[in-house]
């Protein structure tokens, strides 16, 4: 039972990332009709927003420590963060420690700007082109973004830890009536799940309960009619692209303590997120979220040693097997709408 609970938690946690990325993909597809293969790269850029802020907060000047030597035997140059000079060591350490949560404030405007620039500068020119062209250009863009990040940050993963207060793990076994030490889970992963749920809730609330959201939903259903009413739907869709980029970016920011960011991390998520979108149903936001969590949990269970003993390698193909089964039985996905991508 403990193993089942742990795998459900793992699945929900991984599913949170899938759901956040897939939701952005679906938003872009539902509004602009663009299959955005650069969306995984936006997740990666978000993660590097956290790396960047962390580096800004640890900007340092060198102080020579004559009592110690470096690897060449010269007096050791010690980096002292400016944050120490400005706020004192204790406050400076606290600010540096909270770099990842603080990055949320940094990432939102940066990602919205990147999203809007991407849409206005490149993707809008491909609205009337076939999906294959859109896939090619966005995939190319993803590679460019990767290489830019690699140029500035290198190819190796960069450790970006959670604040000390959230860096440990929580023994949930005793609280749930099980033996202590059997259900241990990292606090940050629980934070990630709650954070994802809040972001998903905010996006749904924004679309459901604001006039802006209502217009966007109307535009998703019938773009021409909304345009005929004199509403500049293109502008709103551009803003939605920015919001989708920000959601992917936030997913990346908060994921950095779980997986040390590297330039390739977006590609690792991209393919699976597309499967999530297809399984959930093209253009369906609830479908994307549901499929994200569902596939996350199924993938976690397929990685159990007991399962792998019977079916080795199942963990590497399970998501695709589930996708095949769902598409055979429900060709529009779990919650797909009629007419989307069927012309």
């Amino acid at each position: 039972m403990e193993a089942i609970i742990l795998q459900i938690l793992n699945g929900l946690d991984k599913g949170s990332a899938y759901a956040l990325i897939a939701m952005g993909l679906t938003l872009i597809f539902g509004t602009l009709g663009v299959v955005n293969f650069a969306h995984g790269a936006l997740f990666m850029v978000g993660a590097f927003c956290a790396v960047t802020l962390s580096r800004i907060l640890t900007l340092s000047h060198e102080v020579v420590d004559p009592t110690r030597t470096d690897f060449l035997g010269n007096p050791l140059k010690v980096d002292v963060p400016y944050a120490y000079d400005w706020f004192g060591q204790a406050t400076g350490d606290a600010i540096i420690d909270w770099a990842v949560p603080l990055s949320i404030l940094f990432a939102v405007p940066v990602m919205i700007i990147i999203g809007v620039v991407m849409e206005r500068g490149l993707i809008k020119h491909f609205y009337k082109r076939p999906h294959a062209d859109q896939i090619l250009v966005t995939f190319g863009l993803a590679i460019v973004l990767q290489e830019v990040i690699k140029y500035f940050y290198g190819a190796n993963p960069i450790p970006t830890p959670a604040p000390q207060a959230f860096a440990s793990s929580m023994d949930m076994g005793a609280a749930l009536g099980f033996e202590a030490g059997q259900i241990i889970y990292p606090i940050w992963r629980l934070v990630y799940f709650v954070f994802a749920a809040i972001v998903i809730g905010c996006v749904f609330a924004f679309l459901q309960f604001t006039t802006f959201g209502m217009v966007v939903r109307a535009g998703m259903a019938d773009r021409e009619t909304v345009g005929l009413l004199g509403i500049n739907i293109d502008k709103r869709f551009t803003i939605m692209f920015g919001i989708a980029a920000a959601v992917a970016g936030l997913a990346g920011v908060m994921y950095t303590p779980i997986t040390s960011p590297n330039y390739h991390m977006g590609m690792d998520f991209l393919v699976l997120s597309f499967v999530v979108v297809v399984v959930g149903g093209m253009g369906s936001l609830p479908g994307a979220v549901l499929a994200g969590f569902l596939l996350g949990v199924i993938e976690a269970f397929a990685s159990l040693p007991q399962v792998l003993d019977v079916l080795p390698g199942l963990n590497q193909i399970i998501i695709f097997l589930v996708a095949i089964v769902i598409l055979l039985t429900r060709p529009r996905g779990l919650m797909g709408r009629k007419g989307v991508m069927e012309e």
Binding site: N262, M265, D268, G313
Partner: protein, 448 residues
């Protein structure tokens, strides 16, 4: 009925004369070039095939720096002579190789076997490289080694740790200075026994590819021989970035040691995840839960940050070694680039010097002469103590370092501390050891 004018003697005579005529240009050709890419002018070209893109690009960049430094030292154009001064063989004079100035071309392996072969082929066929070196993956090393064997050039492997490189996939034209999975297991086991005891239950997470398998086999074999029990060994996809689903079952197992047979990004993420799940704070069977990383790399350890603290592993070489050779290399490299070299840089630098030295001693660039000069060659002064390039399998035998993640690092380079220098006798194995079975060196191929 027609009558033929051919006679048996006539056909034989004509055939002999014609055959000799046809063979004549070949004889002249082979006289002009006895082996592939024989250097004829005042220069000799070496091919450095390293990952310049992809996940190991930083390691590849460090390898290139080391190659560049080695070429400077060989040509006598560097600020100093590096390990040329400490190398036990004194054949190298800093005037190139056999008086020819050393030039080099580079290729990008992308850490993909097909890309690595394509770039190596290009360096051999278009640029005239007489030796190929570098790389940061066993899959690439095995693929390029086979290509060099076919092409008739020498392959001096870079960072490759799988047993198979000098085991079932060994080739006469290929040589490995780097240590291997067996050596890691043999060096680690006694240290682990001394620190953690002989009554332990180990759980292996293994990267699902060739290097992962040989490393798991080596560590399991060594630790089980000293009394450890392996409770489970789970293969993890090479593409995995989140290992939580593989780590949580450990909480329900009887394991009190986790062995991460992972390298690169896999190691960074699996170790980070394992620490996040509080494994290091657990007490199982009355013992502290421990984590072991059989193959450490400083560049990778940097990615895992503070999570490497106190965790044991093995490494081929480390910049903090105090022998004269290591010190000379660290001084040269550090002065030129501003930071200490990695183990990948070290092995590439040493391989270049060893090749050049073998050519000097052989008096020829002919691959078969170089093979003969390198086989069973004993040397010292290159950073790992007395070393033997064994003729049976072209594997270097030298001391192996057991290291531990440093508790209080003084800089971003100061991440590992040497716990023990395992003597070469302890990591030496028979050429027909089961973990290396199934391969034959064959005969050297000079090409042309």
């Amino acid at each position: 009925m027609s009558k033929s004018n051919f006679t048996r003697r006539g056909v034989l005579r004509t055939g002999a004369v014609g055959g000799a005529g046809l063979a004549l240009p070949t004889i002249f050709t082979s006289g002009a070039s006895a082996f592939t890419n024989e250097p004829t002018g005042g220069t000799v070209t070496l091919g450095f095939n390293v990952p310049q893109t992809g996940p190991y690009a930083d390691e590849g960049a460090d390898e290139l720096r080391a190659f560049e430094l080695a070429v400077e030292h060989l040509n006598g154009t560097g600020a100093d002579s590096g390990m040329l001064d400490t190398f036990s063989s004194k054949a190298l004079k800093g005037n190139g190789i056999l008086g020819k100035k050393v030039e080099y071309v580079t290729g990008d392996t992308q850490t993909k076997s097909d890309a690595a072969r394509a770039s190596a082929r290009s360096m051999i066929e278009k640029d005239g490289a007489v030796m190929v070196s570098g790389g940061s993956s066993s899959g690439v090393a095995v693929a390029v080694q086979a290509l060099c064997q076919e092409a008739g050039v020498i392959f001096m492997a870079g960072l490759t740790h799988s047993n198979d490189t000098t085991g079932k996939d060994r080739r006469a034209n290929g040589f490995r200075h780097f240590f291997n999975s067996y050596m890691s297991g043999a060096a680690l086991a006694p240290v682990l026994e001394a620190r953690y005891g002989s009554d332990r239950n180990a759980y292996h997470l293994t990267a699902d590819y060739n290097w992962g398998y040989t490393t798991e086999e080596a560590v399991r074999s060594s630790t089980e021989a000293m009394g450890w029990n392996t409770v489970n060994a789970v293969k993890t996809p090479l593409t995995a970035t989140d290992f939580s689903a593989y780590i949580t079952p450990i909480l329900q197992s009887d394991a009190d040691v986790l062995v991460l047979n992972h390298y690169g990004g896999n190691m960074v993420n699996s170790l980070t995840n394992a620490v996040q799940f509080g494994l290091r704070d657990r007490i199982v069977n009355g013992k502290n839960f421990e984590i072991v990383v059989p193959l450490y790399s400083r560049l990778m350890a940097k990615g895992a940050g503070a999570n490497v603290k106190g965790i044991f592993g093995s490494t081929n070489w480390h910049w903090s070694l105090q022998d004269a050779g290591s010190q000379a290399f660290v001084r040269s490299f550090g002065t030129k680039y501003g930071f200490p070299p990695s183990q990948a840089a070290h092995t590439c630098y040493v391989q270049t010097l060893l090749y050049a030295d073998a050519v000097e001693r052989a008096g020829s660039f002919n691959p078969c002469a170089v093979v003969e000069a390198l086989e069973d060659f004993e040397f010292d002064g290159l950073g790992n103590g007395k070393t033997l390039y064994r003729g049976d399998d072209h594997q270097c035998f030298k001391d192996v370092l057991v290291v531990k993640g440093k508790e209080n690092p003084t800089s971003e380079f100061d991440l590992l501390e040497i716990v023990e220098v395992t003597p070469v006798e302890q990591v030496t194995y028979a050429p027909d050891h089961p973990q290396f079975a199934g391969g034959e060196l064959g005969t050297c191929n000079p090409g042309a």
